[in-house]
Structure formats: structure tokens, C-alpha cells
Symmetry: D2
Subunit: 352 residues, 4 copies
């Protein structure tokens, strides 16, 4: 058997952290050597996530005291709150410059550090590192990801929106000034912080929009859509919360350009993803359900014609904790460490 | 105490039927004298809806054998499947022409019987009755409703979409060719028929669109929007199913006309509904949640600015079984029988 | 119209507080004159419970500054955390001794103040008031409740367990040393405090027991069961949390005494509750579902024979926020103020 | 790589069938060569279970026309309705006697064919095969399973009840005449048949018992408990349905025998399962949650002391579709075909 990579999960007490552990525990080429969790330092992992009780893990540590050189990680996953990763990576690389990083926070997603400051309300702490960060939408940036030392894993909404739209924008197939993205997410997308608005009794049996007109993921969408289209693109984007744990469904309204109809758009996407193991195109006219990708690294995409001439409705579905976060992070790790990209993330959707 | 109206519920074994019973049982001016349910005829109501076990009701009957003259209903609610109401009402009026009707099916919603045939796949059975039917969106047609013998109660999606859009269309305040309505419904909207796709395990923990590009409620929207706008309006409308029992949230994307911005649109709606007991406007920038109107006849509406200049995002929330069906039906009954419109439907939302 | 009672809700930002407001807002004999909420003082009620947005209420106050004499409440509902009510009532009665109290906390439920200290971990702050407190299981103590100035509203689990068991214990119809109560509750029973274990994503799609062997409600059960049986009774009681908002289902395992079989037990309960408006006995062999009493003040009780000879399985269902808390509190208010006991709490169950 | 076993899934359109496919698709030693589904014959698997859309499978067949000899299965999983498996296997073995069988129905679980007739309402169709069937609770019968041609996979409730009780009964550590098993199941345990009572809107936000006093799984419990105890054992067992997809929680009330206390019982179970990969004992006093074993083949067991002296409360949790059905079926296949028992079923629980 090939030698295993030594990896660490920074921020193992949150949902994306736990999902990384779930995937890495059965990854044939990786071994978890380090787990951190600031407020839970000193505890065993099973005390914060009982599903891991049967397995052996290192105790949860605080980031501060770690001797990065000694730990000698091949790769670290950072599932830390926005704003803290910048500082942690900076310090880590002072003594362990060969440790590769997949960062699941938003800290290195925006190439423009002023945009970062504007959307996240604080100046960037490591502008010198930003320049070497590669945006980690694997299907579209894998060539750069393979050579990267620092990959900024995309947000869950941006992954659900970019996978269907990037090929269409690249092909100049849709109008860029009337794209509407109406996205619905399960509650794990909101994290594990104990907030009243996230209590079961506040969430169950109800549905709502939030961050209407000003959600932070817009910054990421602007950047990548503009890059793909070769011109500035500003989309309308509204996130919603659905009473379920996992899943994002993005319903996307577009108008074809230069006579392109819905079927043409379907064809472009089908061709773009024909060889991709984690993007599955449904037959024209069918649309996906989040439940069918739960627990898997797959994105399902469907395209249907709107009855309004020239318009199409595109629907994408993924698991926000897998392809929308930790699964894509492992996919990026596989690319960075030279493993086959599907290694350890081939689980089939858990339905029902 | 004033004399009570004698009412019947035709189709009492479905969800809208049960909701009518729930409301009428505590309505101070109505008394339930008749309940029908074709496949459950002969049973007691508590056998199909155990929540009614403590109360006394007439046995469930089949429609066919009923002597309408003898029953002498002041008003009948028809919560029957689409297509059957037309025949039932025709026969009922042969011997009981003074019985008023609130029809909760789609049978009399479309003024154009050809549109009915096209969208519902069968010729209209009672075109002569269609002409006297009044569309029952109470807030906008109450003058006609008060004088009507037959009111066609609106669909749940159309109610959620029309309440925010009708005043804007009437005011010529929004562009009519790029309205996008992304609507999400709880499962009771799909009825009580035993279908695999509606089983708990198929629905829970997932989210999906359906009827993309061709849902029947579009016909109703076309008719009423065009009427309000004074010109033909065709909107983009996508329904979705959320894993919850009750509630519709409609997220509506519009562009202001002639310089109208989101705040202007909010002002138009605030003025239009200032005196309406069942439509509540949230402060500008806030958007509603379905859970807060559960079990009530209220619609909450919010308006926020999109970051794309000139565009606004409007969100409406209602309970599909109450304002979206049975509550509005009782509201219409109140108007038709000369009762104060809020009688018996003033319950506050049940949250959590 | 009869003069309305002036009432206050202390602790209006929790779920039982909101449920009191929901019921009182439509109560024909009560008017809400005061709302308190410590950490939310100064806010409007709609800011903590948006379902109340369309209605006018006094602002939320802190308890400390209130001039009780001036407010002149006829009755105050205390929906405060355990331990604080004792002090609040003591002070309230110094200047407003005629204000009657329904306390929804556990502060006055235990007649033995040493038992209180043992189970709640702190000495009782108002032992002199404990002696005048009446335990508020309305069906079994209404004679005392009508004359009481202070009623200790029962807990939700104890209500679900006592309604079926008290008549059987009084009739000496079951063995007292092998009663097993396996109870399941919706999440609102755990309150509105922002705790990680109560987040939607921690609760949804799962089921668990808690407080196994040592839940505080046992103290209340011991007291009342022993009183009913005329001898010391200690039951086995295990609470569980189900992924739903409302509802308690108690599955109770008993053995008949002196040849009493399950049908005999059913007969005793049927007779005991024949005239009770809020307790409904199902036909022998049928058992209830929590969903059918949601939002109502009803308790449904069923009795079935176990296949083990001499044993019976009794199942009770109620809404923990209504009959298990705020509905019973209003029922007690009605009794204390001389209103018909069902006033304002006759809502039918909201299903689905 | 070792040669793969050729396997078939009979009844692939139900939930246990789909779960078998999910597990077998990633099983390194098995290859799916045959899928059947009577009413869906002719369809592709993705048409009945869209989560499998990205993968290639044989079309769904009807059982009747299959040439078993030609198909040459090493092993067939029967996930067929009760009553049909007996006939199918009989015919299969006429031409393919070397095909091993894991039957997930109840058809071969009861050694006493008269008990089968009594509980399942029809005479046994293959009594000659019953005699060679081995009961498939792997942890307790693996020696026989390894040599078996036909394994009767246990029911989900029986697995959850037997794993904690069998070692205690074998050790004569608990009284056998007052065992109470209060079990709660997710909805997938009720199958995929389209029944009104299983619709989302009938199930969500509610909880109920069913089959009180007479559930079929009792027969299986009687048989295995009596075998373990060496005397006839009849337990009290009540199943409940919780509004979740997956999971069984069994809360079991027992009394220690000859002075055995709860901690002693914990010790017996800890020793019994010390080397079992799929049974995990929690520390004494802790109890498990179903959510932490979702999607995994694990059973978590906890033991706590009751406050009633001499009594203990034991709680077990498993995923009804995995350890309660298809996971255990694959575990049995592994044993029967000589693979390491954990092969292909080592997935970690999917939480949240």
C-alpha cells in the first residue's frame, strides 16, 4: 500500500470539520495526525461528535501551542472561522513551509483584498499569501490546484451556482445582466454556533429568505463569474433556509444569448461535464432533488425551458457539507497530493 | 345571538376540507350540517381525521344521493378534485338555486373556458355557470364577492403571488416582462392522495422544484396579472416543495418602472394594504417567514432592495391551507353572507 | 360584554410565554396589560416573536422596575425560569396582594420544600408562600384552584402521566411498584435557550433519551402519585426528545391489581373523564397520536391490552405548550376568576 | 485484486433494496449482476432511485422469467415482501442450488412454521427449506452463518432489542418476566408502499405508537430470547413511529437478578462485545442517539441505573436500514463467502 499523507483538521468541532474527519477516516491515502478545536481543546473528539466514539483519534488541541514543524503535516485543512485562518496559516508556514493548505473559510477566496475588507468588515491579515492562493472549484481550476500550496475552497452556495453557470458564461451563451439565483440551503450551512434563530423549534416547519440583497457569497460569485464571462457580471442572489440538515438547491433563471434556447444550454453543460466524475447532468427537462446527493460529493444539474420564450431554468443540487465544503476539500487535497481525484469520496448518496 | 348560517363541506376527507371544518367548528355564525367524502362515505369524520374525535358531526355522505333542496344549505364549500365541482354545482342548483357556493377547486377560476380546457386537459362542463363566477381574491374583488352566488377561491400559489404583485401592476410600477416568481410550498399543498413521491421518507430532508415551466397555476396568474396590468403579462414561475406541512414563501424578483426603486414599491404596497386585516406589511428591508403565519389567515409581505440597481426582491408568506385555501374561503363566505369579514378566522399564528 | 380581567405575562420571550399571549390575545375575558422579558426588555414583542407583528402590545419590560400596585393586575402568569419566580411573587405581593398568580415554573409544585431543594439544587426562597400554593392539574384539583391565590401549574410530562394514572391509583386498580412511564416530547419542551444540543442540525433526523434515571419531573410525579394512591409510589420514568416542535406522548406500562384487566382500566378512565371537556378517551384498543392535539388544550388517552396477561399499555397525548403548560394555565385562570373553564381555549387541533 | 462475488438484489425498488445497492456498489468483493422489481420491471434503477443515476446497472427485471442457472449468482439478497420469498427461493434452488441466500423478509426467521402461520396469517410455503435456515444475528450466530446456504436476516426491531438483551439472558442476569421494550423507529422501517398514513403531512410533527400489544416482531423476540434464556420468555414490546427517516432507539427496562445492578449489566455487555466491530458500548450512565449511527452498520448501547432499586434502563440505537437490515445482510454475506466481516460496511455515521 502506498504511503499515507499525514493530515490535520483545524477546527474539528464544527460541521465541516466533522465531515472532513468522516471522509478522511476512510480515505486510503490519508491519516489524521492532528485535530484542533479552540473552545473544546483537551476533549476527545467523541465528546463533541459522538458518532466517532468507536474510533481512535488524537485529542483536540488548541492551535496556539502547536509545533508545526514537529507535527510535520503534509496537508492541513482549515475549517476555522472567517478571519482567523489568515493568521494561523501565516504562523504555520513560518516553521512548516512545506505543509499544504486547503482553507474552507472565505479568507483567501477573494483575489481583491479590498473586496475582502469590504465584504468581511476587516482588513486582510495576510495579503502576501493571498497572491499565491488558488480558488478551489476543482472542475474549473484543477490545473492550478495541482501545483498550489494554498487552495481556497469555495463556499457552498458559490459551488452550487458556479458549476452550472461557469460553462455558460465562458461560452457567452447567456445574457449576463439578468441572471437570478434563488438558492435554498439546509441548516448545516449555517454552522454549529448556538444561536436562538437556529434552534430546532425556530427552524422546523418553516421556510425563509435571509441576507436578502447583501449575502457575502456574492463577492465570490462576482469574481468568478466576471472571470468566466470576460466582463463584469453582477447577479441577483437570494439565499433561503429550508428545514433540513443538508443540501443546497439553486434555481437559476437565465436568458439565452443570440438565439440560444434551453436545450442549447443543456448541451453546453452536458459537454462541459461529460468526463467529470462529480457532476452529473440530468436528461433535458428533468430537475434534481437535494436528497439524492446527500452524503455524496456529487452535483446533479438539470435544465428546463421556461414558458417565457428565450428563457431557461437551471437547477443544481449538492450536499453543502460534501461538494459544498469538505468533500470538495478532499477532492482538492487529492489533486494537490497527486492522488486520483475521486479517492475516498466515492460514497453514494444516502437516500432515504 | 344571531341566526347561524347552515353550511356544508363537500370533500371533507382532504386537507382543505379538514381545515374548513376546523375553522367552521368555532365560527360563531356558521353551523356544519353536511359533510361529504366519496370514498369514505358512511364513516364518521373522526375516522378520517382523529383530531375531530371529541366533537359531534353528521356522518360522511356521498354527493350523489343528497337531496339538496331538503338539506337547504345557505352555503356550500366545494373542496372536491378539479373537474368534478362543475357537475356537482350544476346539479345542486337545479333544486337548491339559493345555496351559495365557494369553490376551492380550479374549476371556475379561469374566465376563459378554452384556457381551462388547455391547462386542465378536459372541456369545461358548466360554461354557463362560469360566467357568473367571481374570482375570490378577497382583498381585490370583495365588492363583486359580496354579491356573488359562486366564488372561485384562488389557488395557494396564486394568492401568495398576487397579493404582492397586483397593486404594483395596477400602479404600473414594475416592468411586466421580467417578473420571476420562485415559490416554495409545504407538502399539504400537494393534497392527501397516497403517492410514493409524497411519503415521509421521500420528502423529509430534501428539497426540489417541480412542474418547472408548466405548472397549472400559471393560467390563473396570467389572467389576473393581465387584468391588473391592463396588458398581457406572462411571468416566470417555479414551484418547489419544502419538507414542512404548511406554508408558502414566494420570492419575487421585479424591476421598477420609470425610476421606481424598492422603497417606492414598498410604499405602494403599504398604502394598498393599510386597512386590510389579513395582509401585514413588514418594515422595508425585512422579509417574512412562513412559520409566523402558520394556522392564521394572514399574509406577511416584505420588500428589500436588490444590489442590482433598479431591482427589488419581494417576499410573501402565508399558510397554504388557510389564506391559501380554507381561511380565504371562509373570508369569502363572510363577505357573501354579510358577516364581518374577519369572523371566525382571527386565530393568531401557531409558532413554534 | 362582561368586564375583562387585566392580566400580565411575566417571561414573554420564551415559548410558554408566547403561547400564553397567543391564547390570551383571543380570550374574550382577558386583556394583556403587561409583558416582561429580562434580556429583551425595551423591545417590542414582535421583535422576539414576529407572529405577533400585526397586533398592538405593551413594550417588553424588566420585572425589577415594575410598580405592581399601579399596574393592578387581576392575575399574573409567571413563565419565568425555575428559582426566580419565588422572589418575584414575594415582592409582587408586598404591594399588590390581590393579584392572583398562575406560576408555570416548578417553584411551587413541590409541597415539601426540602424535596424542592434536593431536586432543584437550591433552597426555597419563599417557604411561607408554598403553603398556600395549589397544584394546578385542573381536572383533579379544581375545587381548590377556584379559591386559590397561587396556582402551581404542572409540568408537561407530569400532566401527560397523571391524567391517565391518577384515577387508576385512586381506584387502587394497578400495582404501584412496577409502573413504567416512557415519555417522548417535542423540542419546545426544552425551551428557547440557545444551546448547541438544541440546534436544528443536532436534533433533526434523530431520537434520544435524556436525563435517564434522574429527571426533575419525577419529584412532582412522586408527590401526586403517592397522594392519589395513599401510599408511597416511585415510578420508572424516562423522557425522550423527538424531532418535532410540539407534543408529548407517554407510553405507560402497568399491571392490573386484583384481577383488573386492561378493559377494566379503560372503564375506570372513561368514567372519570366522561364530563371533562379537555380529556378525551379513545375506544378501547386504540391509541392516540400527538399530531391530533397540536395547538389544542386536549389530552387524548388510549388503553390497550398487553399480550402479557394482566398487563395494560396506556398511551396519552397532549400538546406540551397547551395542556402541558399555557393552555392549562389559562384553564386555571378561568377557574380562579370564575369564568367558564373552557373560555378562550377551545381551539381545535391543527392537523396537518 | 481478489475475484468478486456475483450477487443479485431481488426487490431493488424498496428501501432495503436500495440500501443494499448503495453498499454493494462500493463493496470491493461484490458485483451486482441482477436487480429485480416486480412492478417496475423494465425500468432503469435510476428511474426508481435517482441517487443511482450516475452509475451503470442492469435493468430491473421481473423475477418470473429469470434463468437462475444462467445468471449464476454466488449470492442473492431477497428484499421481497413477506410470503413471496419462500416460493422464489424454492424455484431458484431448483436450477441454481449453489446460490447462497440472505433473506431480508420474515419468511425464514421463525423456526416453528406454525408460529409463522399464526403471526403472518398464511401457511409456510417451504417448510423443507426452513430447517436449513440460520437466523442471521451475526454477532450471536456467526459460526452457523459461515456454513449456511440460507440466512434469515433479523428484523430491525429484533436486532435493536436482541443485541443488548441476549448476553444478559444468557448470563441469567435479569428477570425474564418483566422486560419492557419501548422501541421507536424512523419511517423507512414502514417501507415504501404508498399509504395515506405514511404521507409526509400525516407523519411530520407528530409521534405515535402502533401495533400495541400485537406486533409481528414479537414472534422473533420470543424465539431468540427463549433460546438465550433456556426458558420461555415473553416480553412487553411497543413500537412507535418518529418523524425521521432512519433510526431505531430501543429503551429497555429490566430488573437485575440475584443482586445484579445496572453496573453489573453494563459489565456483562461490555465484555460480550469487547471485540465486536459493529457493537459499541458507551461508558456506564451514557445513552446513545440514533443520529450518531445513521448510515453506519453500528449499534450503540448504553446502560443506566434506574432510581428504582434493582432496575436498569438500557438504550440501544442503530440505523434500521443498515444494521437493522441491509448492512447486517452484507455482514452476513461477508461471513458466508469467507470475506472479512467488515468488508464494505465500514462507513462512519453521517451526522449531522
Amino acid at each position: 500500500m502506498a504511503k499515507k499523507a499525514i493530515v490535520g483538521v483545524l477546527g474539528a468541532s464544527g460541521y465541516t470539520g466533522a465531515e472532513l474527519v468522516r471522509l478522511l477516516l476512510r480515505h486510503p491515502r490519508a491519516e489524521i495526525a492532528l485535530l484542533t478545536a479552540e473552545r473544546r481543546a483537551g476533549l476527545e473528539l467523541r465528546e463533541v461528535f459522538p458518532q466517532f466514539a468507536p474510533y481512535a483519534f488524537p485529542k483536540l488541541l488548541a492551535v496556539d501551542g502547536i509545533d508545526w514543524e514537529k507535527v510535520g503535516l503534509d496537508l492541513a485543512f482549515c475549517a476555522l472561522p472567517h478571519g482567523t485562518t489568515q493568521t494561523v496559516i501565516k504562523k504555520l508556514w513560518q516553521t512548516a513551509p512545506h505543509t499544504k493548505i486547503v482553507d474552507l473559510s472565505a479568507d483567501f477566496r477573494l483575489k481583491d483584498i479590498h473586496a475582502y475588507a469590504r465584504w468581511y468588515g476587516q482588513p486582510h491579515q495576510a495579503p502576501e499569501l493571498q497572491s499565491e492562493a488558488v480558488y478551489g472549484l476543482t472542475e474549473h481550476h484543477r490545473r492550478d490546484i495541482r501545483k498550489a500550496r494554498l487552495v481556497a475552497n469555495p463556499g457552498c452556495y458559490p459551488t452550487a451556482a458556479q458549476l452550472p453557470l461557469i460553462p455558460l458564461l465562458k461560452a457567452r451563451a447567456i445574457e449576463t445582466d439578468e441572471i437570478v439565483i434563488d438558492a435554498k440551503s439546509g441548516m448545516t450551512g449555517a454552522g454549529r454556533a448556538a444561536k436562538e434563530s437556529m434552534l430546532f423549534s425556530e427552524v422546523s416547519e418553516g421556510f425563509n429568505a435571509y441576507g436578502v440583497g447583501h449575502h457575502r457569497h456574492m463577492a465570490e460569485l462576482d469574481q468568478e463569474f466576471s472571470l468566466a464571462a470576460g466582463r463584469e457580471v453582477t447577479v441577483t442572489f437570494t439565499p433561503h433556509l429550508a428545514p433540513m440538515n443538508r443540501g443546497i438547491l439553486a434555481t437559476i433563471y437565465v436568458r439565452g444569448r443570440r438565439g440560444r434556447n434551453a436545450q442549447d444550454l443543456h448541451g453546453i453543460l452536458r459537454d462541459a461535464y461529460a468526463k467529470e466524475p462529480f457532476v452529473h447532468m440530468l436528461p433535458f427537462g428533468e430537475t434534481p432533488q437535494t436528497r439524492h446527493v446527500r452524503g455524496s460529493n456529487l452535483t446533479f444539474i438539470g435544465v428546463a425551458a421556461d414558458r417565457v420564450a428565450g428563457r431557461a431554468i437551471i437547477v443544481s443540487a449538492l450536499d453543502n457539507l460534501v461538494k459544498g465544503a469538505s468533500g470538495q476539500a478532499v477532492q482538492n487535497m487529492n489533486a494537490m497530493l497527486g492522488f486520483p481525484e475521486t479517492t475516498g469520496i466515492e460514497q453514494v448518496g444516502l437516500f432515504p
